[in-house]
């Protein structure tokens, strides 16, 4: 059932343009949810992670550790233990402690910084429109769309949109104890995606 929801969200968002939101109706202010469950990255989690970049696929283990309330340390190694990158990220700063030379491309690092900042610090700031369907609430801000499950209040998708097309999508699936067990990040203007699954040791 969870997988079905995951697949349906992916299919929904990958096959439709933003115009599909015309199916959503404006939500009366009295029915808006004030408490949204954002993914809780509040302990060290190891993620089984795959990156796909221009037909190159590489996988490994991504460890994300909260250093304090506003900062995370992220280390990616392959399964054999070779360390590819070691970043520290907060709302304002991005420190590269280590990065394998092949990955040291400004555009690539910038993309990772933006993606992981959106992943780790999601907030719905001043939505100018809130819509609803049977299962979801849709919060639209000037830059992003946020999809929230009506029954659980869990944030299930963030979508970054341009004037015409979507640019980026983050999908959060299978929540357990406020933590999504699967996360899918897909770029639409560049062939780049990240798939993360919680590694149960």
């Amino acid at each position: 059932m969870k997988n079905l929801l995951f697949v349906s969200i992916i299919v929904f968002f990958t096959t439709c343009h933003p115009a599909v939101y015309k199916g959503f109706k404006p939500l009366p202010h009295s029915q808006q949810i004030t408490e949204i469950n954002y993914p809780a990255f509040d302990s060290t989690i190891i993620w089984n992670t795959g990156f796909e970049l221009f037909n190159n696929y590489f996988s490994g283990l991504l460890a994300i550790k909260p250093v304090n309330d506003t900062t995370y340390r992220m280390i990616f190694t392959n399964q054999i233990g070779m360390k590819f990158f070691d970043f520290q990220i907060s709302g304002e700063h991005f420190i590269v402690h280590h990065c394998f030379s092949a990955f040291q491309r400004k555009a690539f690092l910038q993309m990772l910084e933006n993606d992981f900042r959106l992943l780790l610090f999601p907030t719905i700031d001043n939505p100018h429109k809130v819509l609803f369907s049977h299962d979801f609430l849709l919060y639209k801000t000037s830059t992003n769309n946020y999809l929230v499950a009506k029954n659980t209040h869990n944030l299930v998708c963030i979508e970054k949109t341009g004037l015409i097309n979507r640019k980026l999508q983050l999908v959060f699936c299978d929540y357990k104890n406020k933590l999504p067990q699967k996360i899918y990040i897909k770029h639409y203007n560049i062939q780049f995606s990240i798939e993360m699954k919680v590694l149960n040791q």
Partner: protein, 218 residues
């Protein structure tokens, strides 16, 4: 008085440096190997007799910033010459198969195939993995420098990479040989940052038949 203190500080600093250098040069619990030539000769003899190896392994990845190591388990099969199946079974599925110059890597999602001859680092890592597992480490004198130690139960060979590409991943590889049969019982791969990967081999079986099918990924 100032001069005296200064001299004493210099003496203490020099003493500390000597201590640090000596402890770095000689791993704790080990002394410099007495008969390096004899060890190499015996190892060569064992290698010549070894046709296949299979073993279970436990890998511990230590990252200084994390409290707990990442522990993974699996099995490997080696067959002369240059055939290796390295398979993680817990807590993830991941398979590396080296068959000559062909490398196949399979995870839950897909199979990637490479030819190590097209990539220098791949070729070095491929060579390093098969050579270490086989105990045939001295064929790599161009890529590594070696230091030799021993204690009551183990010979320890410390391999330090020479190439810049390898140094990016590894500061040194410590290979522990069991004194009973000269099989590799443990590997530690140290990084410059202080992080390391420790692999312990158990349940080793030598020279048992392994089908060539084991080294084909479909």
């Amino acid at each position: 008085m100032l001069i005296k203190i200064h001299k004493r500080n210099i003496f203490l600093t020099v003493l500390a440096c000597v201590f640090i250098l000596s402890t770095k040069a000689q791993p704790a619990g080990f002394t410099t190997m007495k008969n390096t030539g004899g060890f190499k000769q015996k190892l060569t003899q064992v290698n010549q007799k070894t046709q296949t190896i299979q073993s279970d392994f436990v890998q511990e990845k230590h990252l200084d910033v994390f409290a707990e190591d990442i522990v993974s388990k699996g099995k490997f099969w080696y067959k002369k010459h240059n055939k290796l199946r390295w398979q993680y079974t817990h807590p993830f599925n991941y398979l590396i198969v080296i068959n000559g110059e062909n490398i196949s890597i399979k995870d839950d999602k897909k199979v990637n195939r490479f030819n190590s001859s097209s990539n220098k680092v791949f070729k070095q890592v491929n060579q390093m993995m098969t050579d270490i597992i086989q105990g045939n480490i001295f064929s790599n004198t161009g890529d590594f420098s070696f230091n030799y130690f021993e204690n009551a139960t183990h010979f320890l060979v410390i391999m330090s990479p020479k190439s810049k590409d390898m140094k990016e991943f590894l500061q040194k590889i410590n290979v522990y040989f069991d004194k009973n049969d000269l099989s590799v019982s443990r590997l530690t791969m140290d990084e410059l940052s202080g992080d390391y990967t420790n692999i312990t081999f158990t349940n080793k079986k030598m020279n048992q038949a392994i089908s060539d099918e084991k080294f084909i990924v479909r």
